[in-house]
């Protein structure tokens, strides 16, 4: 029983981690309507910077948030401005897909060039200390990620719902042309949204770096699951991504324990394919997307 509870809790914590990675992805998709295949590499970049700051300056990894988040915002905004925006009017999807796939390939290999194939371990400053909660235990770092994910979801919801910029973002997400006619500066909103999505993954990177070893291909590892989460939660839905992440976290943890750790990825992607094929609008609600915040 304790084992089961522990597996469940591990699943939830893993879910929190998937959520914080996926929120930025779903935000960008919901607004800009572009699937950012380089999202995982944004995470990787953020983790490497966190590692650099922590090891070179000896700071607590969480302190690097001051640098990493704005840096990632800038990276996201630049990506939108220089790469995606010129392609917004392209007739074929393949152009946009290849653009971010190209960015992803370039970033992975650039990291390989700079940092080599070795693994970079960010000092964990006690974030890997287990806390006992009744019969089960959890790492402090994991718990912080979980809490941060919840705060991020709520903060984004409030921002999108109540602020003037948030309203403009939702208007653009619903109907780009109509929003433009109402005087919304659509290209600026896109740049802002892409930056915001990237900043979210920057936050994720800071939180994840002390727990996971950083390497050039870490992004691929996380992003594939993030895609699963985003589709499961309904594309563009932030709360959907959060709950989708919890589901995938639990599935991952349970199947890893009961079916075999080498097959859990097959289970997760199997579910992904079933959702894509049977219910592409996602598990949670028909239209719980950015344009229909409730």
């Amino acid at each position: 029983m304790t084992t089961f509870l522990q597996v469940l809790l591990n699943g939830l914590m893993l879910g929190g981690l998937f959520a914080i990675v996926a929120i930025g992805l779903t935000l960008i998709f919901g607004i800009v309507k572009v699937v950012n295949f380089a999202h995982g590499e944004f995470l990787m970049a953020g983790m490497f910077v966190t590692w650099l700051i922590t090891t070179r300056l000896g700071l607590h990894p969480y302190a690097s948030v001051i640098i990493v988040v704005p840096m990632m915002f800038l990276l996201g905004a630049l990506t939108q401005r220089l790469l995606i925006q010129p392609l917004m009017s392209a007739e074929d999807d393949h152009v946009q897909i290849f653009a971010t796939v190209g960015l992803s390939t370039a970033m992975i290999n650039l990291a390989l060039l700079i940092f080599g194939a070795d693994i970079a371990n960010t000092p964990n400053f006690g974030l890997r200390t287990p806390i006992e909660i009744g019969p089960v235990r959890v790492l402090t770092g994991q718990l912080y990620i979980f809490i941060a994910a919840i705060i991020l979801v709520i903060a984004l919801q409030l921002f999108l719902k109540n602020s003037q910029t948030g309203r403009a973002i939702r208007a653009v997400a619903q109907h780009r042309v109509a929003a433009e006619l109402m005087g919304v500066n659509v290209p600026r909103i896109y740049i802002l949204s892409f930056g915001l999505g990237a900043a979210c993954v920057g936050l994720a990177a800071v939180l994840i770096a002390p727990l996971y070893p950083t390497s050039s291909n870490i992004g691929t590892y996380f992003v594939l699951t993030a895609f699963v989460v985003v589709v499961l939660g309904g594309l563009g839905s932030i709360p959907g991504a959060f709950f989708g992440a919890l589901v995938i976290g639990l599935v991952d943890s349970l199947s890893g324990f009961y079916i075999g750790s080498d097959l859990r990825e097959a289970v997760v992607f199997g579910i992904f394919l079933l959702i894509l094929i049977l219910k592409p609008s996602g598990l949670f609600g028909k239209r719980m997307t950015l344009s229909h915040l409730s």
Partner: protein, 609 residues
């Protein structure tokens, strides 16, 4: 992304080779002759790699380019071929047989995983293809007994042609070059054939393709099967060349991306593009890898990524796009036909049937619509609609906006299933059939146009019409001939080689009719073909429809242009709020108080009462 890449030769009857074709031939020959001439192990290795990637990319392009299904999971098929080859090799079966076993398995797997994914669009299809790749990679790691798991599989040492394993490089080069030629030939044949046109048509506009009688799922499954089988055969070859395989290398995402990337850089959807892309990029990266060694770990991948981004931003149609633009400019400068499309040259007299008194009489019923009901939620779009259409008759279908006319059309062409009621069409066998999908309707001789025009934008006018013509003429030459003839009849003759996306609305409407006429339908459903075109064009369109009628085709026309309705229709049906409120001769129907009320409201009807 037009499908006419090396078009210069096909347009004219004389098969003069154009300079791009000659250049392509020289490039192809040099892939074999240079390494054989230099006879250096490294050079040979580079050229083998070029041929391999060019062939893989060409095979990918059948699905990714022609069919527009952007797969980033094609390593699955390559891997299946590799594993089938090695596993059978170690059981004592020659890879010459193994590659066909692998091809068969890959074709089946390809069809199985693609079938449920066809409704996914754009990035979602791509994501699904990646997910399948991951699942298969994980499974291949798990089933160690079969695949050797993460440690991989080594082939037993057996040399010679029987085993496809050699000490020297040149036999491998010969084999892979032969496979490249085969793949290019297959790709070229598909591009020119009915299958190729159907694939591109489906990519450009699925519903229009279905209306043209294309069984869209079937053609894409065929494309997937061919593409995956070819990839698997190349996988078998490569496994023999490497003599060692492992899941991480055989089912790699990066590998899949590379395959797709060469096609994009060379020119996606073209026959020659993938080869150009591979021939350009492989040598650079192989050289970098060899000369810079491990100090430049990741360099070639970085270059790939940057090239991909630059290519997408500045030449999205790849090298072929640049070549095409260049050769077009030259052609344009030479002679530009000074015809505007609003005033087309009148068609050759022979092709134009004049509306004459010996119009075939109105015959038996050909289409029966009984108790057709359709509702979306609580809203009834059609309610108990009944009517028949007789052979050679022109039936006008009018009614205010939102009356359910287009929904009715969708139900009598198989695009929408009615909730209740039935639609039956008399076939050539004299029996009534109840088809239930667009392709079956088309097979019974029903053709339709769309209110919102649906051209295959990247195709020329001629190619658009050919998609329809292929329905009667499986052979490319006959279809082209038939398409040209139809184009002249529809006043589109001077625009045959113009891209459909450049036409005006009037031209597009005519193209829409021309495409369906090329199918030689027995029943023609026309959805507002005269809306938004000018007076001259309306008059011409009326003449055209009369000439179509006089060939014995039955027509149902949704139309708001009353001039056309009055002068064309033998009978008119008025639909309002989903119900038939009047039916009869046009002169009578327009005076019907109920009709006047439906169009203009009660007050108007009272005022004139």
């Amino acid at each position: 992304m037009s499908i006419s890449d090396i078009q210069s030769g096909t347009g004219t009857k004389t098969r003069n080779l154009s300079w791009p074709q000659i250049a392509f031939g020289v490039l192809l020959a040099s892939l074999l002759l240079i390494p054989l001439g230099i006879d250096n192990a490294f050079v040979s290795h580079v050229f083998i790699t070029i041929c391999l990637f060019a062939a893989l990319s060409t095979a990918w392009n059948i699905v990714g380019g022609f069919a527009g299904q952007l797969s980033l999971g094609h390593a699955v098929f390559y891997g299946i071929g590799g594993y089938a080859g090695v596993i059978l090799f170690n059981l004592g079966v020659t890879p010459w047989i193994g590659m066909f076993v692998g091809a068969a398995v890959a074709a089946v797997v390809g069809m199985l995983i693609s079938y449920p994914c066809f409704r996914l669009r754009g990035p979602f299809y791509t994501l699904a293809s990646i997910a399948f790749l991951e699942v298969i990679r994980v499974l291949s790691l798990h089933f160690k007994d079969l695949t050797g798991g993460a440690t991989g599989l080594m082939i037993d040492l057996r040399l010679g042609w029987t085993w496809m394993v050699f000490r020297e490089r040149w036999p491998s080069l010969l084999i892979v070059f032969g496979m490249l030629l085969l793949t290019l030939a297959v790709s070229w044949a598909i591009r020119r054939s009915r299958l190729g046109f159907y694939l591109v048509a489906t990519r450009e506009r699925e519903s229009a393709a279905r209306a043209a009688g294309v069984r869209t799922v079937r053609v894409r499954l065929i494309a997937v099967a061919i593409s995956s089988a070819l990839c698997a055969m190349l996988g078998t070859f490569h496994a023999m060349y490497l003599t060692f395989i492992e899941p991480a290398a055989m089912f790699a995402l990066a590998f899949s991306i590379q395959i797709a990337m060469f096609a994009l850089i060379g020119g996606i959807g073209t026959v020659a593009g993938p080869l150009l892309g591979a021939a350009l990029l492989v040598p650079i990266t192989e050289w970098a890898r060899a000369s810079l060694g491990s100090s430049a770990l990741g360099l070639h991948g970085f270059v790939y990524g940057i090239v991909l981004i630059v290519c997408v931003l500045f030449m999205p149609n790849g090298i072929m796009g640049v070549i095409k633009r260049f050769s077009h400019k030259k052609a344009k400068a030479a002679d530009e036909p000074a015809q505007t499309e609003t005033d087309p040259i009148i068609a050759p007299a022979s092709a134009f049937a004049t509306p004459d008194p010996d119009r075939p009489g109105i015959g038996q019923d050909i289409l029966k619509v009984e108790n057709l009901n359709k509702h979306f939620g609580g809203l009834y779009v059609t309610r108990d609609v009944n009517f028949t259409l007789r052979e050679g008759e022109v039936l006008g279908l009018i009614g205010p906006n939102g009356a359910g006319k287009t929904t009715l059309f969708n139900m009598i062409s198989g695009f929408l299933a009615p909730d209740e009621g039935k639609v039956s069409v008399r076939g050539l066998d004299g029996q009534f059939h109840q088809p239930n999908n667009p392709a079956d309707f088309a097979a019974l001789g029903m053709g339709r146009t769309f209110q919102i025009v649906q051209p295959f934008a990247a195709m020329t006018v001629e190619e658009n019409i050919m998609v329809g013509a292929f329905y009667r003429h499986p052979d490319e030459k006959d279809a082209r001939e038939a398409a040209r003839e139809t184009a002249w009849r529809m006043g589109l003759g001077p625009l045959l080689n113009a891209e459909a996306r450049g036409l005006t609305i009037g031209g597009l409407k005519r193209l829409e009719v021309a495409r369906v006429m090329a199918m030689q339908p027995r029943v023609l459903l026309l959805d507002e073909v005269m809306a938004g075109i000018n007076q001259t064009d309306v008059r011409r369109a009326i003449d055209l429809m009369l000439s179509i009628r006089d060939t014995g085709v039955s027509i149902i026309a949704i139309e708001h242009v009353m001039q056309a309705v009055m002068s064309l229709s033998d009978r008119v049906i008025v639909l309002a709020s989903g119900e038939v409120i009047a039916e009869g001769r046009p002169q009578d129907v327009v005076r019907d108080p109920q009709v006047v009320e439906a169009y203009l409201g009660k007050e108007f009807a009272h005022a004139h009462a």
